[in-house]
Amino acid sequence: MNIVVCISSVPDTTSKINFTENNTKFDSNGIQFVINPNDEFGLTKAMVLKEALAGTVKVITVGDATTEPIIRKTLAIGADSAVRINKAATDSYTTALEIANYLKENPADLIIAGKESLDYNGGAVPAMIAEMLDLPFVNACNGLEIVGTNAKISREIDGGKENLSSSLPLVIGGQKGLVEESALRIPNMRGIMQARSKPLEVIEATTTEDLTTSISFEKPAEKGACKLVDADNVAELVRLLHNEAKVI
């Protein structure tokens, strides 16, 4: 069972987001980067599957050299090897194409990505990889079981879940539920030591043609002051919501 986990390096979820160069670029100054949380569920799931079924877990990312600490962290958590395609990820299509091109040469049985990265929230890369490789795809995947050459999958739908089955190879967009939050693996000292000698291959990018371009950014409008209503006067809150805000 050869599993590839696609990883994105994103600002820590507690980060305040700012922009530079006349609001055209994300300001990474002072930002702590982490493994994209949706990818973390996928990485732990890959480790669990590897231990049960034997095989390898390879991590792949499209990013410049600044993403290497995050890649080393995935190796410390337990991935066997890593590939970094040397290109800042600026567009979903070119990012997916770089990964798909690599996977055409180096096929995997299961390709796990996070359903979306928590920076640009495009949510497009995993589905695009599937299309480029002509493979089945399940997004918002919150349950996965491998039985022989088949997968039993559940995906989140409104108000519940849908159960599916598929042949392998398969691409999934993972999220919470793939493993529980409490089961997420973190690097231990032995893992960190081993990670230093695990292979991290750097490949030059070949795609250049972005299908979309980011022009500029703005922050959402700040809220005005909160109108506080006395706890003994709940009727006043209802009156405000009805007459002033007109939402009930």
Partner: protein, 315 residues
Amino acid sequence: MSVLVYTESWDGSFRKSTFEAASYASETAKLLGTEVVAISLGEVSNDELTKLGNYGVSKVVSCCTIEKGDSQAATNAIAKTANNASILIFSNTNTAKMIAPRLSAKLKAGIVSNVITLSESASPLKVKRQAFSSKAIELATVNTATAILAIAPNSFKLIETGGNCTIEEDLTNEKGAITIEGKETASGKISISEAEIVVSAGRGLKGPENWGMIEELAELLGAATACSKPVSDIGWRPHGEHVGQTGKAVAADLYFAIGISGAIQHLAGINSSKVIVAINTDPEAPFFKAADYGIVGDAFEVVPKLIEEIKQLRA
């Protein structure tokens, strides 16, 4: 040249987000001076399909044998109908997130998701979208001749045109490698991402047994129930109710935060909501800085009073 809209159905029925996508497509078609063609997957009655006419659709292609959860088959069916379209519109639902990017790769058409505005011009197409989990708004442009836009639910109003649409059946039977085995859903649940009112509660409720009043308030208002991350992590509420950066995004008209302190990750998920009400015992809770209205008080006293007052208002 036309505008194509994917009109998603659930058990044979359209939802508000479907009509939002049709309305958005209709406004976009005006920009191009063209018409809107809709594509529907799965079994949907003619009575239901006809409703699309009222939101500006002139023709709907109904592929009743295609399962929307089979993203390969769905993508191929839409691609076939899209051969003449220059802009493809989706509502950014869980299913659309499987299909729209596949279609982008197949047609080599640039995709922008979480779209919250109409483009001011047809060429170049420039739209605003939510990014960084709603902590920022990005202006993006599409560089290809065909564009795909996935619009954020609850960010575009319905526009009724009073028009009619024709129905064309496409009986192509195609199947990818996926088999849909079945689904497990709680009936009567309102979708959090589409709900106009969301009643959300956190650890301030002290235990899962205290959610009765939250559900009562939600039912009274026709609202969806939601919760904070810690509450879903400790299993008081299902994961599907978790709202915030790593959970669902909410863009409701009215959002109640009851006993939720307001961590930055939670606020990121809900700050597209129009009116926010915070109820918390702690006057220093960060939620009061993000809210429009607030009550510093105990949820166990405030919520029952709130229910009574709303009942009186409705009486």
